[in-house]
């Protein structure tokens, strides 16, 4: 039966259900299908901190948003075009995010009196629809295209031949929903079938039931009259290469493995489990064949302590955590600053302060990374811009740590960690090579001076135990310049504080010039008078907002920072080339503050701390408003 196929250039779909409904898996499978199909895509998982919050309640709702397009996209989308809601709580929790006219597919099976009450509905919003659709009496769903479907009932019916309990049978409803959506958007089904075959290989009944539910969902879409239209989102043109879909945490772990391979150093990860960073520990623990040691420590401090010990012993010491863990590690990071040992510190930022929002994203640890230690303790800070970029950022962090003998802070965040995008797989032989350059010889009149520095980098020699003749002691007490023995001399302390700072500043010599995206001309010379500057995961939303502003016919420039300390050498000139500088951040203005203090520019903040990525449309409005403001001033 020939159904109408409509072509779309992009669509945003959100799968929402109870924490136990398998929404993350459903979203992930739809994403993989879309990736293999060739769309550009960006994802946004959103789940509660509780493993299983009370069933059917609003706090227990878990969702996965995926944005697919036939062109390059930068964000998971501000608002879903389609919502799949597996129960009343999922409907209620997500309805506010939907624009008028959005499509909603609901599993009617779970709209029982009890579940409605748990979600806070006095009346069944589906019943109000009835014949009143489109009228004032249509209730809260009146402005949407609602498709009530008994997903659970049909799933149970579809899998009855496999002899599962009703409960187990009903659990395959997420695959039915996936099948339906896969039909609706013309996704390839083979990857999911083969995924299910592998995943449930040991329990054939569950395997077959899930595959049957998935296929039944597809067939239902094709045959039912409830869905008259299916959609097509064509593949996006992409740079030639081999791609895979990747999350930030996975890319970051791979980047650390690659840093080990390209430096020849064994990687030692000392870590304590914490959301949303634990997946890096999980992933690295699988890569022992690369000589990667993972040590699950008794606490955050032991995690970083063991990594410092491993670095002292000649490994690439790494510790991974989130904001609260950085607070605990601060004293030990200061020790690594003082002892000038290579160390990669990964902070996958989450909402704070304190325990805050463990599963939500934020960028509020920038100042903690920059200043959160006692004494003058500068260290380099770098931040990836997208999930795939976490791979390159990890390699860059390792390069700086090893070359300059310093702890490096790598600021990822919850959105990058769990979000995903297509990633062009790099060729291994094109990855940067990192040179450990261990000290092997005495360096000062027949003696070894552990603080005699390299002229170019100001880095000190890295002499590892087992090297004869280079025995030396380091520690947290102030060192005398050169020989490194304890020194309380006032002039020496002044010199060492300045030297440690100068070493970090010296890193800027190795950074490429910033790329200013300003189609109107060279910085300051074109029509664009507003510069939007960001760092980290706001890259996507800022880019999308800039596009919207340009599509509306305005000129605006953008620059994105990967290095937050030291800043690239050309940053000051770029900032001063524009009349206005707007700094969108998921914090209360931390980069703004750094830019203002260093460059004396009137940086204007656009600050959102909702635990979610900045919405491109809101930012576009702010950029436009800022430009209008400028126009008024000049008139």
């Amino acid at each position: 039966m020939g159904k109408q196929v409509k072509e779309l250039d992009r669509v945003v779909i959100r799968f929402a259900g109870d924490s136990g409904d398998g929404m993350q898996l459903t979203g992930d499978r739809f994403t993989q299908e879309s990736a293999v199909f060739g769309n550009d895509l960006v994802t946004l998982p959103n789940f509660p901190a509780e493993i299983r919050a009370p069933q059917g309640t609003l706090p227990g709702v878990s969702s996965f948003q995926v944005h697919i397009a036939d062109h390059t996209i930068l964000t998971p989308g501000d608002a879903p075009d389609v919502l799949v809601a597996m129960n009343p709580a999922a409907l209620k929790a997500n309805l506010g995010d939907l624009p008028k006219g959005a499509a909603i597919i609901v599993d009617t099976h779970d709209f029982t009196a009890r579940n409605l009450q748990k979600a806070g509905y006095d009346a069944n919003p589906l019943e109000a629809l009835g014949d009143a659709a489109g009228s004032d009496q249509a209730g809260p769903l009146g402005e949407y295209q609602v498709h009530p479907v008994d997903l659970t009932g049909m799933t149970v019916e579809a899998v009855k031949e496999y002899g599962l309990s009703r409960k187990d049978a009903a659990r395959a409803k997420n695959m039915f929903a996936l099948g339906l959506l896969s039909w609706m958007y013309g996704r390839p089904t083979e990857p999911t079938v083969s995924f299910l075959e592998k995943r449930f290989a040991k329990v054939p009944a569950i395997r077959d039931a899930n595959i049957a539910a998935f296929k039944a969902g597809w067939n239902f879409g094709e045959t039912t009259e409830a869905f008259a239209v299916s959609y097509e989102v064509k593949p996006a043109p992409m740079t030639p290469g081999t791609y895979r879909n990747i999350t930030g945490n996975l890319a970051l772990a791979y980047g650390l493995v690659a840093a080990g391979v390209r430096s020849g150093l064994p990687v030692f990860l000392g870590s304590y489990p914490i959301t949303p960073a634990s997946d890096i520990l999980h992933e690295l623990s699988k890569h022992k064949a690369f000589g990667v040691t993972t040590f699950q420590a008794e606490d955050e401090i032991a995690g970083v302590g063991s990594a410092i010990g491993a670095s002292f012993a000649g490994a690439l010491g790494v510790t991974t955590t989130s904001g609260p863990g950085i607070a605990l590690k601060s004293e030990a990071i200061g020790l690594a600053v003082m002892t000038e040992l290579p160390l990669v510190v990964v902070d996958v930022q989450r909402g704070g302060p304190s325990t805050g929002l463990p599963t939500k994203t934020e960028q509020a640890d920038l100042l903690q990374a920059r200043y959160g230690r006692n004494g003058e303790a500068p260290l380099p800070i770098i931040a990836p811009a997208s999930p795939g970029d976490c791979f390159d950022a990890a390699l860059e962090a390792a390069r700086i740590a090893v070359t300059y003998r310093t702890p490096v802070m790598l600021l990822s965040d919850g959105y990058l960690a769990n979000g995903s995008e297509p990633w062009a797989i790099p060729a291994v032989d094109e990855l940067p090579v990192i040179e450990p350059n261990f000290a092997t010889e005495v360096n000062h009149d027949g003696k070894f001076w552990p603080y005699q520095r390299d002229d170019a980098t100001l880095a000190r020699p890295w002499a590892v135990p087992g090297t004869p003749g280079l025995e030396h002691r380091i520690g947290g007490l102030e060192k005398a310049d050169g020989h490194g023995n304890i020194s309380y001399d006032p002039a020496n302390h002044d010199l060492m504080v300045r030297t440690r700072a100068a070493k970090i500043e010296r890193i800027a010599e190795s950074l490429p010039p910033l790329v200013v995206d300003d189609p109107s001309g060279p910085p300051g010379a074109g029509a664009a008078k507003v510069l939007v500057i960001g760092w980290g995961s706001t890259y996507g939303p800022i880019g999308a907002a800039i596009r919207q502003v340009r599509q509306a016919g305005f000129d605006v420039a953008q620059v994105h920072l990967r290095h937050l300390n030291p800043f690239p050498k050309d940053l000051g000139d770029i900032l001063k080339s524009y009349d206005k500088v707007l700094v969108p951040e998921m914090n209360m203005g931390q980069l703004s503050m750094l830019l203002r203090s260093k460059y004396l520019v009137d940086a204007i903040g656009f600050n959102v701390v909702r635990g979610l990525p900045i919405k491109a449309a809101e930012l576009a409005d702010a950029i436009t408003a800022l430009m209008a403001d400028r126009t008024e001033e000049t008139h």
């Binding site: 293999v36 060739g38 990857p191 992409m238 740079t239 030639p240 290469g241 081999t242 791609y243 895979r244 879909n245 791979y254 493995v257 391979v261 030692f268 000392g270 890569h287 022992k288 064949a289 690369f290 000589g291 040691t293 040590f295 420590a297 008794e298 401090i301 032991a302 995690g303 302590g305 063991s306 990594a307 410092i308 010990g309 491993a310 670095s311 002292f312 012993a313 000649g314 490994a315 010491g317 030990a332 200061g334 020790l335 002892t339 797989i425 790099p426 291994v428 032989d429 135990p465 087992g466 004869p468 003749g469 025995e471 030396h472 002691r473 380091i474 520690g475 947290g476 007490l477 023995n485």
Partner: protein, 363 residues
């Protein structure tokens, strides 16, 4: 070293230093002495321990560059500066975690931790107990002077209850830790106690600790002449020490007193051990020390004979030495096993890793 080992009655297991390169060249205490001026107070017990360690290290016959001393914060934690080995004077309480990283990363290093009662039992208590349960191959020298010295005289987690100090002008109200009991409760595989002033015993215990594969905890009673002088006088006084020290030697009946007239017997009422007169109970009923007993119950019972208050009596020697797999050996074995199954080079394997999973190619 072998002689001392025999003296303590401990047979050799897989050695703690068996993977550390050795040298045939004669070594002396002088080589292990750094050019840094020692800055402890005159009369500090730390001097005696430093001398003993500098004198003992050459006996190990290891390459000096393969020895690492790590310390935390406190008077005793200055120790690494005075030894010409690799060393790190780290931050308060964290030395066991740093040493864990070193020992796990490198099987060819002899790793030592120097710590005090405040460093290891107060701020660093968590790292100490977890190092012990993991059984990382390292030796922890816990200098116990039962006081905070470097911060000038506050009570410590091993100070007796009621102790009057700068921070407890009307007496402390904390119950102290017994470090040996704590270590035994933390699944330690080697626990010993010795005294700063008894160099022979100290050196023998150090030798046994170094030979132990796993975490060896050695509590060293150490006098602080400034803030807690005389805390161990009963254990050192010519008139008192025979009654105060209960020497533990593996395989020997536990006897003490000037005439060896006292000994330990099992206490059928409490299930623990108690002191009895040999003449009353008979030598055959005196407990024979078994440091290798897999069950730590008796070792714990013996550890409880140490006074919690002012010290009048304390067992000295090796309470427990049992062999069990070490964390670092097992971690390296897991890596070696994984590497043995993958003949490809690292670059080739990295390319395979990055290209795994669902991929697609755009031409």
């Amino acid at each position: 070293m072998t002689e001392s080992t025999t003296e303590l009655g401990i047979p050799t297991f897989r050695s703690g230093v068996e993977l550390v390169p050795t040298t045939d060249a004669a070594q002396s205490a002088k080589e292990y002495t750094s050019d840094q001026e020692v800055r402890w107070c005159p009369g500090c017990g730390d001097y005696a321990v430093l001398k003993a360690v500098q004198g003992f290290l050459p006996e190990l016959g290891l390459k000096r560059e393969n020895i690492v001393f790590v310390s935390g914060i406190g008077c005793s934690s200055r120790f690494p500066y005075y030894l010409d080995t690799y060393g790190m004077h780290s931050i308060h309480g964290r030395a066991p975690s740093i040493a864990t990283g070193i020992a796990t990363a490198r099987p060819d290093l002899s790793v030592w931790v120097v710590t005090g009662d405040g460093d290891s039992l107060s701020i660093g208590g968590n790292h100490l107990i977890h190092a012990l349960r993991r059984n990382v191959n390292m030796t922890i020298l816990l200098f116990n002077n039962r006081i905070y010295g470097l911060t000038k005289g506050q009570y410590s987690p091993t100070s007796e209850a009621g102790k009057v100090t700068k921070s407890t002008p009307v007496g402390s109200i904390d119950t102290p830790f017994n470090p040996v009991s704590l270590a035994l409760g933390a699944e330690a595989s080697f626990v010993a106690r010795t005294v700063d002033s008894d160099r022979k015993h100290l050196s023998a215990v150090l030798a046994a600790a170094a030979a132990h594969r796993g975490t060896a905890l050695v509590e060293i009673y150490q006098n602080c002449p400034i803030f807690n002088d005389g805390a161990f006088d009963d254990l050192k006084g010519p008139d008192t020490k025979a009654d105060a020290i209960i020497p533990l030697v593996h395989g020997e009946p536990i006897l003490f007193g000037a005439e060896q007239e006292k000994g330990l017997i099992r206490d059928s009422v409490t299930g623990g051990v108690k002191v009895a007169r040999v003449a009353e109970v008979g030598l055959e009923n005196i407990l024979v020390h078994d440091a290798h007993n897999p069950d730590p119950t008796t070792a714990f019972a013996i550890s409880r004979l140490t006074d919690a208050g002012v010290l009048h009596q304390s067992p000295i020697g090796i309470f427990r030495q049992v062999q069990r797999p070490t964390y670092d050996d097992q971690a390296r074995e897991q890596i070696a096993t994984a590497q043995a199954t993958t003949p490809a080079g690292p670059e080739e394997r990295l390319a395979a890793l990055l290209n795994a999973g669902d991929t697609w190619t755009v031409v």
